[in-house]
Each structure stands twice: as C-alpha cells, then as structure tokens.
C-alpha cells in the first residue's frame, strides 16, 4: 500500500477582513463578500515566506508520520512565491527538517497546482520503489495587486505530505492529470504582481480543467461521486469549488470540510492541499476522499485517497487546519496589511 504517512499544515496568525479591503477601494463589502464567498484571508507576518511556512507544515507532517527525517529521499516545494528566483527553497526546508544531505531536492512551479504536482512525483517515487519516503509541500504567500479582484483572496499558508509504504494514513487509490496551454493567469519574470484574463479564468480555465480531471479520474477508477465521503477542489474563491462540485455531482456536505476558503482565502499552491488536510482532520477510517487541484496556465491534478485506521492515531499529533484558522487571529487594517505585504514603496 502506497500513500500519505504524514500530513501537516500551517497558516499564519494574521488576517485581514474582506470589508477592510473593499472599503479601501470604495467597493461595497457585502457585494464582494457575497460574490466571492470569502470573509477574510490569512496574511504572512513580515518574517514569514514560502520557506518558513513550508518548514512549519513539514514539521507538522513529521509529527504525524513519526519517522526519522533522514529516511526521506526527496523534498519538493511547490509554490509561485519562492523567495529566491535562483536558489532553491527546498534546500533550506530540507536542512531545517533534518532531511539533508542524502536527498533529492527541487522547487516546483505550476501556478496554483505546483503542490499537487509535487505530490504526484513524490507518490510515484515511493510507488516505483526508488525511495522509502518522499516529501511534497504546497505553499504560497500569494500576490494580488492593490485594488485587483485577487487582493480580496490572495493569502498565505501551506501543507506538507510525506508519502511512504508503511503506516499509511491515506492510501492513493488513483491519480489523473489534465493539462492544456491556456493563458488565464500569469506573472512575467521580474513582475511583482500577477495578471489575469478576468472572466476567461473561469470557463476555459478553472472549470474546463477541473471538470475534465474530475471526470477522468472517476472513469479511470470506475467510481461515482456518491462513493466518496468528501471532495476537495482548488479554491480561488468560495464560489468556484461549489459550482464545479455540483457540476461533477458532489453535494455541499461532501465539500464542506475542505472548503476552508471563506476564512483562509486562496493560498494558491497551498489551497487544495490545505483543503485536503482539513478533510483528513475529520475523516474516518474507510472514507474515500476525492481531490482536484487547478493551476493556471493551465492544468488540474486529481487524486483519490482511501483513509486508513491510522488516521485516528495521528490526527491529534499536530495542529488541525480549522483550529489554526479559528484561533490566535490577529487582525490587520489595510495600512498595516499594505506594509506587511510590501505594497508601500520605501527608500532603500
């Protein structure tokens, strides 16, 4: 049996409410909140970035896995906000987690699905017998330009998954991926903020890829939506995952545990992996869990997991996603938020 042996998430303590952003730009907060189905989002501290969040998520995954980190043979960090353009995030993460030096390390990039692509590679390294354990992390300190629709949702957080063959928490039952060249959202080299193609990010991008990956994996696994306890989708806002879930045949109840976006925002590469982590937090042995990510550019990775009896042993060994989202919150006003996210031009 190959699957996840340890999982762990991390979200920063800072938050900003959607109404504070809306008021700053003269928009109606209630219209924005209703349209996006997002109330507030996480904000990284001034000393937090993709690397620090990945380390915290990785430490939580190691607590649940209960393994010697030196047995992990690969460490992949998927993000679109790596602090360095040249120099891997993964070397620092692997060193901090005690995985170095006998380890394969690389940073992954594929907009918001860099984390799930890293998961697929890690899973296959274990499945092929090349490695005993492999670590994949999806993390972002997401960027959104001031006044842009993305500013209401772009948030920070991440989740780490350790794959292995022994003491599996969630077995990988099936995988599938669907990709096409679709320019819906991008950030050019050296650009501070990403740009997007407005409504074009919906039908030809998010919905097309998530739907086809969803249908594809169901067909490959010969399964139906009602076979699953829970389903997780990439969460650019609250509405998109609800819409695609319904279109694929999943109920609101199936989506609810992993639908963390109203209180977290869109953590880009960390979005669907963190939704999956929140779902594992409430899963029971035997539950089937369905997940489809989405990365602009564009593509979707789909996984089917079967939760094992070990979930009850590891669940409380690290902080749960909803606990982190509900507790120790520190709210920022827009001015402090702008300073935290380096949106104010300063003299060098």
């Amino acid at each position: 049996m190959v699957g996840i042996v340890g999982y762990g998430s991390y979200v920063p303590r800072y938050r900003i409410k959607v109404e504070d952003i809306a008021n700053q730009w003269g928009r109606d907060p209630e219209v924005i909140k209703r349209g996006l189905m997002v109330n507030e989002k996480t904000v990284p501290g001034t000393d937090e970035d993709t690397i620090t969040i990945s380390v915290e998520a990785g430490r939580n995954a190691l607590k649940r896995a209960g393994i010697d980190p030196r047995l992990i043979g690969s460490c992949y960090v998927g993000s679109e906000s790596h602090p360095y353009a040249v120099k891997p995030s993964g070397t620092i993460v692997a060193e901090a987690l005690g995985i170095t030096p006998e380890v394969h390390v690389a940073d992954f990039e594929f907009a918001c699905k860099a984390g799930t692509e890293a998961m697929w590679v890690a899973y296959n390294e274990v499945k092929s017998g090349e490695l005993q354990y492999a670590l994949a992390i999806g993390t972002d300190t997401s960027q959104g330009a001031p006044g842009d629709a993305l500013e209401y949702t772009a948030s920070a957080g991440g989740t780490a998954y350790i794959f292995g063959k022994e003491k599996v928490v969630a077995e990988v039952v099936e995988t599938f991926s669907y990709t096409s060249d679709t320019p819906d959202f991008w950030r050019r080299e050296g650009a501070f903020y990403p740009r997007h193609a407005g409504r074009f990010t919906g039908e030809p991008a998010y919905f097309k890829h998530v739907y086809n990956a969803g249908v594809g994996i169901l067909k490959k696994a010969k399964m139906k939506p009602e076979d699953f306890a829970y389903a997780v989708f990439h969460m650019p806002n609250g509405k998109f995952p609800q819409t695609i879930g319904k279109k694929l045949g999943f109920s609101k109840e199936q989506i609810e545990p992993g639908w963390v976006v109203p209180y977290m925002g869109n953590t880009y590469s960390g979005s669907s992996p963190t939704g999956l982590s929140a779902t594992f937090d409430v899963s029971k042995p035997g539950d089937m869990v369905f997940i489809v990510s989405f990365g602009s550019g564009a593509g979707s990775d789909a996984f089917i997991f079967k939760v094992t009896e070990r979930i009850d042993e590891v669940r409380n060994l690290a902080p749960k996603v909803r606990e982190m989202l509900d507790n120790n919150k520190i709210y920022l006003d827009y001015g402090k938020y702008a300073k935290f996210r380096e949106k104010i031009i300063l003299n060098e």
Partner: protein, 129 residues
C-alpha cells in the same frame, strides 16, 4: 553577517540543535568546544525542547536597519526545561501581551536579509503558545 558565517551556523539556527556533555551531562546551546562544568571535550548532539518560558523581556523601539519597520518588537530571554537559555524575538504579539513566565513555542522565521538582492537568513524565533 557574511554568507560563510550564515552557512556555518545554519544547523543550530534551523533546528535548535545543541549538545550534551558526555562527561557530566550538562546541556548547551549553542555548541561549545569545552564543557565549562567538567572540562570535557566529548559531546553528543541534543535537540532543544519545542517550548520554553519567558524569563525576562524588553521592547525594542529603535531597531537595527533590517528591523526598523517592525518596531516596536519584543526580545526575550527564554528558558527551556533543561535549563538552557536563549535570547530571541517573540513574534506575532504586541508588547503589552508579553510577561515573564508565559510559555512560548519555537517557530521558523526569517531573521534578516541583506537588502532586496542579498541572502536571506532564517532561524528560530518564539511565539506565545
């Protein structure tokens, strides 16, 4: 701080990894060459606990260049259950929330960077539990 020095100290800063004297059992962080208790030079690696307690603290209102936009911030002396003490910043907190005796956990954070184009230094800081 130069890149070679940053690199030499990275394991201790990243993992809070200290040492235990094999002669007398005294625990140290950071590492030493000679044990001040027994003069021994034989040490084994010893991880520090994940949590500690604030012994005393101060609020910094005028920080160094790389921290000048983060003032006021709190720096505290923290004691582990094994008796080892470290000095570090207490993050995600306003100064009035901090007091001696409060429990903290150690978190992985950016310590400083050498400007927008320089190397970033990472390590441990403390956060109220």
């Amino acid at each position: 701080m130069s890149s070679p020095k940053i690199w030499r100290q990275r394991i201790e800063r990243y993992r809070l990894l200290g040492q235990k004297c094999k002669g007398c059992g005294k625990v140290y962080f950071p590492k030493r060459l000679v044990c001040p208790e027994c003069g021994g030079r034989d040490f084994g690696e010893e991880s520090m606990p994940e949590t500690g307690k604030i012994v005393t603290y101060t609020t910094v209102y005028v920080g160094p260049k790389f921290m000048e936009n983060d003032t006021p911030y709190v720096v505290a002396i923290i004691e582990f259950a094994n008796g080892v003490r470290v000095t570090t910043q207490v993050v995600d907190v306003s100064p009035e929330e901090v007091s001696a005796g409060k429990e903290v956990k150690f978190v992985f954070r950016k310590l400083k960077d050498e400007g927008k184009t320089g190397v970033i230094v990472y390590g441990y800081k403390a956060q109220l539990v």
